[in-house]
Symmetry: C2
Subunit: 446 residues, 2 copies
């Protein structure tokens, strides 16, 4: 099981940081268990690692084999929770350079998450003479960014393979019954997978939204689900030994002390995309009602030479949560000349993993001494099983933490504001009144 | 010239936000001009776009041609300012997917910026059967991360090409006279380029540290320097019309209002690495003495579906600075069926660039209405000339802003703390006393 270590945050916490929150955590747990809290209609992820549809996962694996046979690339069209989880685990479990290193596995491209004509044109051009498939991931099918990308890539598929051929290369992950994408998929006969209605985007990585792209890349998705189930079993047990309770309580207590920025830090580049997933999970769950810890992420030791100065000596409103793996996949023995001119001679015979671990220990001590509390989450190997544990840990801790801080951790009302203005400015039918207001220099709230 | 627009921040600023800072800006400008301020020995970048060594730039271009002929890949070894600028402009001016799309140009890999055995092993394996060259970038040559990577890649080059052959594939960018890397380069006969002693890492992108990798990728580095010179001429002119004065004053005034997090935002994925460069520039320059705006970056519209909720409705201590290009490189006409099931019909005949621009406008209005001041910096095209302007703009504004806030914008004393602990824990000779202290559970400050 994951280990949570609060040692380097204790000097910043009152003695009762955990005990004073046990009642709140007990209540938060109950709300997650029985779905009776704010947003309780979106707590389907809590039991998912036990109750998921085995048959559908079987079909995900079969479909992945088909895509791997017929395609040099998979284009995943989705925004926010419809791609961040898949991308996070893809980079964590393969490499940030997956598309260069994937060999005979299909490349995986994440698109439909912006409105950049340069980015879309670039990818369309790259794929024009390649065999590819599309996985469009959207609950509704009407979100502008993925809808536009789906339009463009569907047109390219139809040019290349004809309308019939394109149908065999489009895979839709969407609601089981409702929505535009579901209707279109039924009409066109696309193969489909479902995102359960009681699971929101940022909690959906263990549904086919995350699992299909991962399976196409050859990642062991059953291992991920096994890891999540193992974490679920441990973390739903109440009590102050529970690492998710500790994490939720510690970040809550640090926020109460004025530490209003949390940095998720890792010592492997493979965690960079995971940091983006984590930022959505916590930022979108807790950043509302004028409050919430601001989530940022850093990659160490890399960013110790960019953000390190600020962390060590800037405004003292930060805390850090470090994700650590005890066993890297590769060994890399250092063999400098004893008189190495760069002064590395003393590292002769050391493995690089040892050096990286001392950097981590030294940084935790330096940051804590500089006034930055450090939390540490330790996993075993960088494998699907441990990745699944990490996903469930952060999801569960986020649910607890959101209820502890009194918000609805499962809505995101603020995401509509830019869309409303954009629709009005684009002249979308139905938004005429807002358009008039904006053009008159007024800005309606919300 | 770049346009700076403060419209959507004005409601958050006192009327005298600029006028009350004109004296301070006049003084900050003087300190930058005559190098008499804190850290004045590191202001060589101020005049660099005019005074740079033409002959050396000529040699950078010649060397780039040699590397392009002899190599399928260039490995850039450097950490912090020794790679972030090159990476920022490479991704901005080509693509975040450069290594997939580069065709007959060499791939460019940035390494030596972490201690991950998995990441280093992965790259060593990838390059084993490719022709590659190395550009090692370090003022001193003793920083642990690049020194270890240089050891490993030099060993691989010597295996592949012999010691003589390896010499022709190693290019060192370092101090003109001093330091371990300079001594090694002289001894081994590597081709070398210099980082002027009066320019620190985070201000070094317009030196060969940034220019050589960019030239290898085929980027027009003279265009970048021309753009920087153009910005320099405009921005060194004093006065309240000066966009760098306005930016420095506005962020300073917003910080005084309690807006202690700044988000650099762009609407092109090509700006993502630029955000990392910007974070080092401002975070390392201003994050000291227990103060400083915390720098973060976001990519829109992508992150409107992850960080967007927080920005719209979370704690109100944020402001945003948006970098915008008026003309994207590609046109992408939308041609949905009038009855498009996703509801895109109203966009028929529109260019995607128009949609992206309305998203930007709508977001600025939404965020300002939600309590997040918006600053806007507008460039023309995404070209070397405009990229050079952006670099100089932010460097110059950062120098002004640092002096306005009373810090030394050119040192980074806090970066040493983790290194000291790491050396002690690794058992490096000379760090025995600190090692004893750490093992006894004490943590020396600084």
């Amino acid at each position: 099981m994951l280990q949570f270590d609060v040692t380097h945050a204790l000097p910043f916490l009152p003695a009762n940081w955990l005990s004073s929150r046990l009642d709140g955590l007990t209540e938060a747990r109950r709300l997650l268990e029985d779905g009776s809290g704010l947003g309780g209609e979106f707590t389907g992820w809590v039991d998912l690692p036990r109750s998921y549809d085995r048959e559908e996962v079987q079909r995900v694996l079969q479909t992945a084999r088909i895509i791997r046979r017929q395609s040099q690339a998979l284009v995943v069209i989705g925004i926010g929770g419809s791609y961040l989880g898949a991308r996070a685990l893809l980079e964590l479990l393969t490499s940030p350079n997956y598309n260069l290193l994937c060999g005979t596995s299909p490349q995986v491209f994440f698109t439909g998450n912006n409105l950049s004509s340069d980015a879309l044109t670039e990818l369309l051009d790259y794929l024009r003479d390649k065999d590819f498939s599309v996985n469009v991931v959207s609950k509704s099918g009407t979100t502008t960014e993925p809808a536009i990308a789906f339009l463009l890539f569907r047109q390219l598929l139809e040019e290349k393979y004809g309308r019939e051929g394109a149908r065999d290369r489009i895979f839709a992950t969407t609601d089981r019954e409702e929505g535009t994408l579901r209707a279109l998929a039924n009409q066109e006969g696309y193969a489909t997978f479902s995102i359960p209605r009681d699971i929101g985007g940022r909690y959906s990585v263990l549904t086919p939204a995350g699992l299909l792209p991962l399976a196409v890349a050859g990642v062991d998705i059953r291992g991920i689900l096994d890891g999540a189930r193992s974490a679920m079993t441990a973390l739903r047990r109440p009590g102050q030994e529970n690492p998710a309770w500790q994490y939720a309580a510690a970040r809550n207590a640090l926020y109460a002390q004025g530490k209003n920025i949390e940095l998720l830090a890792g010592y492997e580049p493979h965690l960079r995309a995971f940091g983006e997933w984590w930022k959505q999970l916590f930022g979108e769950s807790e950043g509302k009602d004028g409050q919430g810890v601001f989530p940022a992420s850093v990659e160490f030791t890399t960013d110790l030479h960019s953000m390190g100065q600020y962390i060590q000596e800037g405004a003292r409103d930060l805390f850090e949560t470090v994700v650590r793996f005890t066993v890297p996949q590769s060994s890399c023995l250092l063999d400098p000349h004893p008189e190495d001119p760069s002064g590395l001679g003393y590292l002769r015979g050391r493995d690089l993993r040892f050096v990286n671990e001392q950097a981590r220990r030294g940084t935790a001590l330096a940051h804590a001494a500089g006034g930055v509390p450090n939390l540490l989450l330790t996993a075993g190997e960088r494998t699907p099983f441990w990745a699944g544990q990490l996903v469930y840990f952060f999801q569960y801790a986020c649910g607890l933490s959101g209820y502890l801080s009194g918000v609805n951790p499962f809505n995101q009302p603020g995401v509509e504001a830019y869309k409303a203005n954009m629709f009005a400015l684009l002249g979308k039918p139905g938004w005429e009144a807002r358009r008039q207001a904006l053009l008159a220099g007024q800005t309606p709230k919300g």
